[in-house]
């Protein structure tokens, strides 16, 4: 068999999705269709209610008669109800949100990558709920306990899926998702720190959980990046395959473009919200954007010299800085929180020079030196493992042990 087309035809006849896969997706589709229909019905009902003038007694009667129908949708068919999506702990629809909507959501994720990404989104959602409740002064002990429990479970599941991706050899994807999780933890730690300043023990408790998790996640991300850098170096030294070198280069170039896009997006956000976030925050954000730009420049230089793994990691660090700044700006704009934008030192492994704003960097360093509190605006506890202000201690280059997400 010589012809490519004969080989293709032969392979085609042997590749099948398999009955189990077909059945699995069919089931997920049925779930999806039911949820979609319920959401559409509910939206139509809401529209009807909004359009109906409530002054006329007859219409009032109609409204009353609709209520049980709506309830049926919410309890039976309305598994992804609009209303439940925005529910907070303590509200009637919150159990629907976490017990039905999110469970259906989980069912729809097939690959470890999709599952990990979904769990990270759930972690983010739990922390957002905590922030909203804290800002509104509604975070009681029962809610705090429930949120902490769900946060821990979902962070653990996210890490388990990431570890699976890592074991499958897709280190870059594992690093990307870990990096996303880390961004959520670090920004929410700062936001909760600000929200809980008024002696709110419940918020402090959740923040402590976040910080504990952050220490572990930062250590794993650092290890994954080291793995990327060393495997890329090994490949460039030993691989005779031009294709492999091209692949590594494509990954690095892709990551650099990603970093540039993320930076642009964060800069655009700042321009839109400049008046709302305040002058100092805007200046601090610009300093962080200068940091990100410096890393992107350095990533490009590394890529040009063939150090693709390091270029990839530098790109990821630039993404984290831009996203962190944007998320913190968003917290200022949305919650009116006085959270500071001067950022976290994501990775001390890479020494870099900023492409611009060197004066701004000096100013920031001066501020850090003169600040009496730690970079987190929270009383420092230097002896504690997993201190997010000191990621290198828990798993950075000083550590000789390999940290995995199984920990």
């Amino acid at each position: 068999m010589n012809s490519f087309f004969e080989q293709l035809s032969e392979l085609k006849s042997r590749v099948h999705a398999g009955e189990e896969r077909m059945r699995r997706v069919r089931e997920r589709l049925i779930h999806f269709i039911e949820a979609d229909e319920a959401v559409r019905e509910e939206a139509a009902l809401r529209h009807h209610i909004q359009q109906t003038p409530a002054r006329i007694p007859m219409v009032r009667f109609k409204l009353v008669s609709i209520a049980p129908v709506l309830l049926v949708f919410l309890l039976a068919g309305g598994s992804t109800s609009f209303a439940a999506q925005y529910a907070l702990p303590g509200e009637l629809l919150y159990p629907v949100k976490v017990g039905v909507n999110e469970k259906v959501g989980k069912l729809l994720q097939a690959s470890p990558e999709a599952k990990a990404t979904y769990e990270v989104a759930l972690v983010r959602e739990r922390l957002k709920e905590a922030t909203v409740l804290s800002v509104e002064g509604k975070l009681d002990t029962e809610m705090q306990t429930e949120l902490e429990s769900r946060f821990t479970t979902q962070a653990t599941e996210a890490k388990a899926h990431i570890e699976k991706i890592r074991k499958q050899g897709d280190i870059r994807t594992a690093a990307d998702i870990t990096s996303d999780l880390e961004i959520s933890l670090i920004t929410n730690s700062k936001i909760l720190g600000e929200a809980g300043k008024k002696s709110d023990d419940n918020t402090r408790s959740i923040r402590k959980k976040v910080d504990d998790e952050l220490g572990k996640v930062s250590a794993v991300r650092t290890n994954l990046e080291e793995e990327i850098a060393s495997s890329s170096k090994r490949e460039s030294e030993t691989s005779r395959s031009e294709r492999k070198r091209m692949n590594a280069s494509a990954f690095a170039v892709g990551k650099i473009r990603d970093a540039e896009n993320t930076l642009r997006s964060a800069q655009t956000y700042l321009e839109k919200k400049r008046s709302k976030v305040g002058a100092q925050a805007a200046t601090d954000a610009e300093t962080r954007f200068g940091d990100a730009l410096g890393l992107i420049t350095q990533a490009k230089e590394k890529a040009e010299t063939g150090a693709n793994g390091e270029a990839f990691n530098l790109g990821n660090e630039a993404i984290r800085i831009s996203q962190e700044a944007q998320e913190l700006l968003k917290a200022r704009a949305d919650f009116n929180l006085n959270v500071s934008i001067d950022g976290h030192n994501w990775n001390r492994k890479y020494e870099w020079e900023r492409a611009s704003s060197s004066d701004a960097m000096n100013q920031r360093q001066e501020r850090e030196r003169s600040s009496s509190s730690d970079a987190w605006g929270w009383p420092a506890n230097p002896g504690e493992p997993g201190d997010p202000g000191k990621p290198d201690k828990s798993g950075g280059e000083e550590s000789n042990t390999t940290t995995t997400l199984d920990n």
């Binding site: 010589n2 012809s3 490519f4 087309f5 080989q7 293709l8 035809s9 032969e10 392979l11 085609k12 042997r14 590749v15 099948h16 999705a17 398999g18 896969r21 077909m22 699995r24 997706v25 069919r26 997920r28 589709l29 049925i30 999806f32 269709i33 979609d36 229909e37 559409r40 729809l108 097939a110 690959s111 470890p112 999709a114 499958q168 050899g169 897709d170 870059r172 294709r243 091209m246 692949n247 494509a250 990954f251 170039v253 892709g254 990551k255 473009r257 990603d258």
Partner: protein, 170 residues
């Protein structure tokens, strides 16, 4: 009425899902990713129909939707194809009978290597024609180009592939 829509849609799933999955597999060479793409293709198609839109040729529409998803995915990840195509992890292998595993892996590896060398748009065309067995007219519908253009491009690709596999002797 609603039940009828659902029934028709699920019948369409039985009819086209395998082909959509296989197309996805030959584009991304990952069983799981192909599964996600297939699922997302059908979900989007369902929503399109539920939004009140009409679809004349469902099969062509499914391929178009899948195509958009693959393009979006590649754009989002920007680290797409070559490395993924050349992956040799178990997860990337189709389900084979264990007895013929070695022979089939060699076959897969060879086909994958040739496909990986093709530009993205040629790869898509080859798979639509020689894996999905779509006629040039329907390929034109999926890709939004006329049928003559499809035929000319296919002819050129076949010539190129012939040279790739059996290089002309000097």
């Amino acid at each position: 009425m609603k039940r009828d829509h659902r029934k028709e849609f699920l019948e369409a799933y039985e009819l086209y899902a395998e082909a959509i999955w296989r197309h996805g597999f030959f584009r991304v060479f990952s069983k799981e990713r192909a599964e996600e793409l297939m699922q997302e293709t059908f979900m989007r198609t369902w929503q399109y129909l539920q939004d009140g839109n009409k679809i004349v040729n469902l099969r062509a529409f499914l391929y178009q939707t899948l195509r958009n998803l693959i393009v979006d995915d590649a754009r989002r990840k920007k680290e797409a194809s070559l490395d993924k195509l050349m992956e040799t992890s178990d997860a990337a292998e189709p389900s084979y009978d264990a007895r013929e595993d070695i022979e089939r892996q060699v076959l897969l590896s060879h086909v994958r290597e040739v496909i990986a060398k093709l530009p993205e748009e040629d790869r898509e065309l080859v798979i639509l024609r020689y894996v999905d067995d779509l006629p040039p007219r329907e390929i034109g519908e999926v890709l939004g180009i006329n049928v003559n253009n499809v035929s000319v491009r296919l002819h050129r690709i076949v010539e190129t592939l012939r040279d790739t596999i059996n290089p002309p002797t000097p």
